[in-house]
């Protein structure tokens, strides 16, 4: 599998996700600097977490305007799998590949902790091996918002990827860490080849992480 990880100034989970891809998918990804303008052929493009451009102005806003994003969008439109994690999710939203917005956590503070998510649609390239999974979140702006029309649209199209839930898989207010509407932790585009998610599967990818549930997302891509 030919994989690419985009590196923006301020990306800081680029190495972590590259290690996870190497360990699980078995090939080391090509790291693509944001000033490069094209990705020729790819089987997976990852937009990693971090604080691209310091998260200044609005998370993901500046990164979405950087040269490489044109090529990411072109690839996405051709059907290449594109995955945005955390800040990567924010960038994919700002670039218009995904719907909605990510606003400040309802607690108004940064949250770093393990949460549990449940795949809402397991028929996609990213989630065909997914189950109820524990993995960390680490963000200040992960509160997913969309207006009621948009929510209806993404629900009708099975575009919700993951929802925050408790150990039993119940989706309730108690298990919602950041105030996301309908506990939404991740969404797809209409054709389900673009995934954005706030939790960090690459931080739950080997036994020393205390949990390796994050592997199933990368394993899904293999099948």
């Amino acid at each position: 599998m030919k994989t690419h990880v985009i590196v923006f100034p301020g990306s800081n989970c680029d190495r972590d996700v590259a290690v996870a891809i190497q360990n699980i998918i078995g090939s080391s990804p090509e790291m693509v600097w944001h000033k490069d303008s094209t990705i020729k052929q790819s089987d997976l493009i990852v937009v990693p977490g971090g604080f691209s451009y310091g998260d200044y102005l609005r998370c993901g806003a500046m990164a979405s305007a950087s040269p490489i994003m044109k090529s990411v969008i072109e690839n996405a439109n051709k059907g290449v799998p594109v995955m945005g994690i955390c800040n990567g999710f924010q960038i994919l939203i700002e670039s218009g590949l995904l719907q909605g917005a990510l606003i400040r956590n309802s607690s108004l503070s940064f949250i770093c902790r393990d949460i549990i998510i449940k795949p809402t649609n397991t028929k996609t390239i990213f989630t065909n091996k997914s189950k109820i999974s524990k993995m960390p979140i680490a963000h200040n702006e992960g509160n997913y918002f969309a207006n009621s029309n948009q929510i209806k649209e993404i629900e009708d199209n099975d575009q919700i990827a993951f929802q925050y839930c408790d150990e039993n898989g119940d989706i309730n207010a108690h298990s919602n860490p950041n105030g996301s509407i309908n506990n939404i932790a991740g969404v797809f585009n209409k054709s389900k080849n673009v995934l954005g998610m706030m939790p960090h599967p690459e931080r739950a990818a080997e036994s020393i992480h205390g949990c390796d549930d994050g592997r199933n997302i990368f394993e899904s891509l293999l099948s």
Partner: protein
């Protein structure tokens, strides 16, 4: 009355957000942008007998809570 309060970093304090915004604007082709300073805008409705009194109160709010004068300046504008 409506009070409009602008809080900005003092002129000589580094504004990291401002400089990154300026660079991004330039890279989008807005070449004539020289400098960007960003800050906070607070709008508040206040019951007061006079504009002067409202302004005085807002100044007080800025000094006590809304701004940190070690690094920030503020300005207050009152509208009826």
């Amino acid at each position: 009355m409506l009070a409009k309060i602008h809080i900005t970093l003092k002129k000589d304090v580094l504004d990291p957000q401002g400089s990154v915004i300026a660079n991004s604007l330039k890279s989008l082709g807005f070449d004539n942008v020289n400098d960007v300073r960003q800050g906070k805008f607070i709008e508040l409705e206040i019951n007061s007998n006079s504009k002067e009194e409202a302004e005085k109160q807002c100044n007080d709010m800025c000094e006590k809570l809304l701004a940190n004068l070690v690094i920030e300046d503020y300005s207050v504008e009152i509208e009826n």
